[in-house]
Amino acid sequence: MEANIAIPSDGKNTWDGGGVRPFGASYGKMMMWFFIVSDALTFSGFLAAYGLTRFKFIDSWPIADEVFTHIPFIHGEFPMYYVAFMTFVLIFSSVTMVLAVDAGHKMQKNKVAWYMFATIIGGLIFVGSQAWEWNTFIKGSYGAVKTTDGKILQFARDGKQIALSDFVVGNRMDSRVEHTRKNGLWWNSGETLPQYSVAQVTASYKADPTIQIRSEQINLDKKKKIILSREKGLAELTKGKMVVEGANLKVNEYGNTIFADFFFFITGFHGFHVFSGILINIIIFFNVILGTYEKRGHYEMVEKVGLYWHFVDLVWVFVFTFFYLV
């Protein structure tokens, strides 16, 4: 090896706790930063792909504050409040994390432990909220009809979106019953049947002249979804293929299926980061309590896991903007 380098060094004093530290940063800290750079690129890959797809469907993309409108335990529409709350939780847990690092510099073991504990709690509240948000999104709130040419038709009264249950009456007319395990030949269960059939929705639409159909298309001047005339609406509805309730990777009552795919993928990947951050925080928390870093003489490990935790917060700031605000 010596032949290949201009200035021979035995490397003993680089990053082994000795005096030489490139950029004045320890090995662990520097590698955490470089990991964060690569992870940031992964996330920007996702968000940029989201941007590409949104630009591709710019005239029909779901409007985010019409999609995420719920708050736990409260009925009604409150766009964005809950996501804003989640953002606060994450920022606050970032603060307790820096305070832990700060207390570590002063070698205050108990303070570090308490701040780490608060950070873990903040993380748990965030993932819990995320789970609730997913659950609400998967269940859906209004219901829609998907047509044979892949469009989503939503229903409205006086220009405001209403749920299928607000106007659909009568019986299914297709006499389909959900096939459950207990009456199946091989104890297999069938696919979940939506509450209503397309024929039933169409009949209810015809019966009530106040119902309008809201298409996916956006009026780009007003940035509002276009509401179809009664006749045009009926023409679209006759192409109805299935009733959609909620969202999954294949259908999405809020509009473009790929919107749901990106929602699951991006917030899921971020939620997974939060989850692993919590696990790492718990490990470090116990190390603090056991006095590992007290014996080591410094709390740099808390600082390194802190970097990761702040990065998770940093990513959320961008997800919040590009998924919910813009």
Binding site: F23, L41, A48, F55, V98, L99, V101, H105, F311, V326
Partner: protein
């Protein structure tokens, strides 16, 4: 680091209040969506979107510089991280958004509403 044992508690809370304030402004604008900002166009998107993007970058700066303590790192260490990430992300985003716009122009005329 020379100031390793100094307490930064006050500064940490200051940054927290600034970040919270920015978030409140973002949410308020996101709910109100004033027509003059939302329905007008400025450099390819609405002024509202530009406000959101700028505020987001301000928050990202606060988190990176204060919370992640980038301000205290050596200049070239900071640059090796920040410049690399910022350059690559701008590059990627520019290409993909241009491509997305092209896809829309090409495909949208084929969709019958």
């Amino acid at each position: 680091m020379a100031h390793a044992h100094e307490s930064h508690t006050k500064r940490i809370w200051n940054v927290f209040w600034i970040l919270s304030l920015i978030t409140i402004v973002e949410v308020a604008l996101g709910i109100l969506k004033p027509d003059i900002l939302h329905l007008t166009n400025f450099l390819g998107t609405s002024p509202l979107n530009w406000i959101f993007i700028i505020l987001t970058l301000a928050k990202a700066y606060g988190i990176t510089w204060a919370f992640m303590h980038m301000e205290g790192e050596k200049k070239w260490f900071r640059r090796s991280v920040v410049w690399t990430a910022v350059f690559l992300i701008c590059y990627l985003v520019t290409l993909l958004l241009i491509e997305g716009g092209y896809l829309f122009e090409t495909l949208a005329p084929l969709v019958r509403w």
